[in-house]
């Protein structure tokens, strides 16, 4: 098992290395940040001076080497537009996004698991229909629509929650619910179909034949096995939440990685884009690695 994990870690490092190269090259294909940064009065001479100041006049290989060497030493660089070191900036924003993603995941699980269990145990009934509606809504409504609706209903009309920014648990509610609802749809559908399959299997019939009541059968025996594919999905979707909360963060003015990277993209702030991408890639790889390890621990069949 240790050898397997070692192999995965090595794979992860290679993936990260490739990611840094790809992102480094891709962002530079969008053009020069100088053309975004400079005011309308800027002359060609001023443009050349700023390009030199930012080190963008050097060959790409040299630029990459400088960037990679700094990253290895824990220095993510300096933002072109914020005139600040990226490390502390990323730490604060990443923490906000991690908290939001975790809260959204919790909302998603809390919503999806009971509904999936009810839907699977009462197939075709009211709960099943309701669960389908919830899943359909979550999947089909993009978060910029559901977010705006949430703001309108719970912020503007009911005045229950603040509608933008961070600072207290109340600020979490609307963005976490918006993201969590979207996330719950996948969990719900996957868990429901898993449960339906497991509930018809021989060992569940045996458990029932032994006289166990329905809920222990479902919760103790069926849910555990049906949850395995969901666990993989959770790992993936947690990564997606980390990297893909951009729209939700923008709608709720949430000071996380999503809003940071959207600002950086708009301003072609290469060091920030590279740092955020590196961080989210690393986070996704780490979460998936953890899921793989957990999966191995939960399911003896996948152990080598």
């Amino acid at each position: 098992m240790a050898r397997e994990i070692g192999g995965r870690v090595l794979q992860a490092l290679v993936t990260l290395l490739i990611t840094t190269i790809v992102i480094f090259l891709l962002v530079r294909l969008t053009g020069s940040p100088v053309d975004v940064i400079l005011p309308d009065t800027a002359t060609a001479e001023q443009r050349a001076a700023v390009i030199e100041q930012l080190g963008l006049d050097r060959p790409l290989v040299t630029q990459y080497w400088r960037y990679a060497s700094r990253v290895v030493h824990g220095d993510l660089g300096h933002s072109y537009t914020l005139n600040a070191r990226i490390g502390p900036l990323l730490r604060d924003r990443a923490l906000n996004t991690l908290l939001l993603a975790t809260a959204a995941m919790a909302v998603g699980i809390a919503l999806a698991v009971p509904l999936a269990v009810l839907a699977a145990t009462r197939r075709g009934g009211f709960f099943d229909q309701a669960a389908s509606a919830v899943a359909l809504g979550g999947m089909s409504l993009p978060s910029f629509i559901s977010g705006i609706l949430a703001i309108l209903i719970f912020g503007v009309w009911l005045r229950w929650f603040p509608i933008y920014g961070a600072g207290s648990w109340r600020h979490f509610v609307l963005p976490a619910a918006t993201l969590g609802w979207f996330n719950s749809a996948g969990i719900l559908r996957l868990l429901r179909s898993g449960l339906l399959e497991v509930l018809g299997s021989e060992y569940v019939k045996t458990a029932r034949a032994k006289g166990l009541s329905e809920w222990p059968v479902v919760c103790k025996h069926a849910l555990r096995n049906a949850a395995l594919p969901v666990l993989t999905f959770l790992g993936l979707s947690y990564g997606i939440l980390l990297a893909g909360a951009v729209t939700t963060e923008v709608v709720f003015a949430w000071p996380g990685l999503g809003s940071l990277v959207s600002e950086a993209i708009a301003r072609r702030d290469f060091p920030v884009i590279q740092a955020v991408t590196l961080f989210t890639s690393a986070a996704i790889i780490a979460v998936n690695l953890a899921v793989d390890v957990l999966y191995t621990a939960l399911d003896p069949r996948v152990r080598g």
């Binding site: 053309d35 940064i37 009065t41 700023v50 005139n83 503007v156 009911l158 005045r159 933008y164 003015a253």
Partner: protein, 531 residues
């Protein structure tokens, strides 16, 4: 049973907490202003412009002040008087006495001289840099006087020191330290200014807060709110919602939100004529393009119905139709209110196209949105439709401005010759001096221009140079009026609209003074709560 009671009580408490309404913002102690764009740093010499001013404009003073009508003011900036030598090569700036920095020390001429030095530095990326680079020598004559010698005569140099024309803010010499290529703040987290608000605290990505500065030199503009909090909300519908809930007091609105904002009881305020989008003919100085011919330019500029287009796209509060010819406008020198907008005349336009020898070559339209006028692609599509109706072959290319912009910087500019013309918008500030817009948008690159948008570069370079030598501003205004009429008949470009900035303002705020002609209203200290 006991467990169910406990659970019930907990649920009730939770519901009570959840359903408690959020506290609406009370006027007086704090006002929150939402912005769309900002750059979270405090050195005005770096990346100031609009986004920079949004973030820190309230904690600094203008070097030269602005008045409500878009004119220079001797009462709202730290420079209380200036004199220009008759040959326009020397300027004397007189600093106001009693201007205090936020650390309690008094501002002196050394600070004023340093401000001009810092903005001219190699590492400066402010829009006021070209103005500061015009300085050949600075002399601190006494505690409150700075004598400036210019490299070349420039009658409108002082305009460049005002936020009407750029982003020059008054900075403290002691707050900076020298670097290899310029200057940097000694402590970027403890910025010092002399403005009506002083820095209190910030959280990157979330907010910046300023406290009222009780010792501010201008009693009439001392802050009415104890705290000014600036937040960034990019999404337009969230901004409007935040205004409706009272979580923010002032926020910019999109044109289509005005009606909803008014229905919700919000006030609509903001500076007029914040930007003047110019429809320009790039490379028209090159005889290879038909836009080098007056008939062809006239055909293009009279070949669309500006009034109809503007009427469809803008609500009246957002823009008004531009008249006359750029770079003149109601806040600039040389403005002639008698010159009308170019009249739409399709028949005459067709005749002129024939006279100009239009040969069916396509006209390239570069279409990109701008921050202060994101609707420009819509206008271009409408114009393209009119031109197609005249029988012109139009090729409209959507692109983002940053991708297009290197074409302007290239020397020579790479305008492909297979087209009859290259057309697109540039969006200058109204710039009351007018001459500074000549510099950026009309004159040749050789003469320090950027866009080189005029059809006869020798002529416009000469004009700019001659006008720059006129030391008397009244005389300059008169001469500019003559030039205005001449350029009007040249059909060199068309100002489409005077674009205003529109802010939703809480009904709890009763007044706000903004200056026409600025694209970033930093006068938040003039926000006054209703009694």
């Amino acid at each position: 049973m006991r467990r169910s009671i406990r659970a019930g009580a907990a649920t009730a408490m939770l519901l009570a907490a959840l359903t408690a309404p959020t506290t609406a913002q009370a006027p007086g102690p704090a006002v929150t202003v939402a912005t769309v764009e900002w750059i979270e740093q405090f050195d005005p010499g770096v990346l100031a412009s609009g986004p920079g001013l949004n973030y820190k404009g309230s904690m600094f003073d203008s070097v030269v002040g602005a008045g409500p009508g878009g004119a220079l003011s001797k009462t709202t900036g730290v420079v209380e008087d200036w004199t220009l030598a008759s040959d326009a090569t020397h300027v004397t700036l007189r600093l106001r006495k009693g201007v205090k920095w936020h650390d309690g020390t008094e501002a002196t001429a050394d600070d004023l001289a340093f401000t001009l030095t810092r903005f001219a530095a190699d590492d400066s990326t402010a829009s006021a840099r070209p103005t500061a680079r015009k300085i050949a020598n600075l002399e601190v004559a006494d505690r409150y006087t700075v004598k400036v010698t210019l490299k070349e005569p420039d009658s409108v140099f002082v305009y460049g020191l005002s936020t009407l024309e750029g982003d020059m803010l008054f900075i403290k010499k002691d707050a900076y330290r020298k670097t290899a290529k310029g200057w940097e703040l000694s402590d970027p987290e403890k910025p010092i200014g002399s403005g009506p608000y002083r820095f209190a605290r910030r959280k990157l990505g979330e907010f910046v807060e300023y406290d009222a500065f009780a010792d501010y030199w201008d009693a009439g503009r001392r802050a009415a709110y104890k705290t000014l909090r600036i937040v960034r909300i990019v999404d337009a519908s969230t901004r409007l919602s935040a205004l409706r809930t009272g979580e923010v007091g002032v926020a910019p609105l999109n044109p289509e939100q005005i009606e909803a904002a008014q229905r919700a009881g919000l006030k609509i305020m903001g500076p007029k004529i914040a930007a003047v989008p110019l429809l320009m003919f790039f490379g028209s100085w090159d005889p290879a393009f038909l836009t080098n011919k007056a008939d062809f330019r006239k055909a293009l500029l009279t070949g669309y119905d500006k009034k109809a287009i503007i009427g469809k796209i803008y609500p009246p509060a957002v823009a008004s139709i531009a008249t006359g010819t750029p770079p003149f406008n109601p806040v600039s020198l040389g403005w002639d209110p008698t010159l009308p907008a170019y009249a739409y005349n399709a028949t005459e336009a067709k005749r002129l196209l024939k006279a100009a020898g239009y040969d069916g070559r396509p006209i390239k339209i570069w279409s990109y949105p701008f921050g202060t006028a994101p609707e420009l692609p819509l206008i271009l599509e409408a114009i393209a439709g009119y031109w197609q109706g005249l029988g012109l072959n139009v090729e409209l290319t959507p692109i983002d401005f940053a991708t297009f912009r290197p074409r302007l910087f290239a020397q020579p500019q790479p305008w492909e010759k297979q087209y009859a013309a290259h057309v697109g918008f540039l969006v200058p500030l109204p710039r009351p001096s007018a001459l500074n817009n000549f510099g950026t948008f009309m004159v040749s690159q050789k003469a320090g221009g950027v866009a080189a948008g005029f059809w006869n570069l020798d002529k416009i370079d000469r004009l700019r140079s001659e006008l720059g030598r006129v030391g008397d501003l009244k005389e300059l205004d008169r001469k500019l009026r003559d030039v205005n009429r001449e350029l009007y008949n040249d059909y060199w470009a068309d100002a489409i609209v005077y674009r205003h900035l529109v802010f939703g303002v809480s009904p709890k705020i009763c007044s706000w003074v903004t200056y026409d002609g600025v694209d970033v209203p930093t006068t938040y200290s003039t926000l006054r709560p209703c009694p």
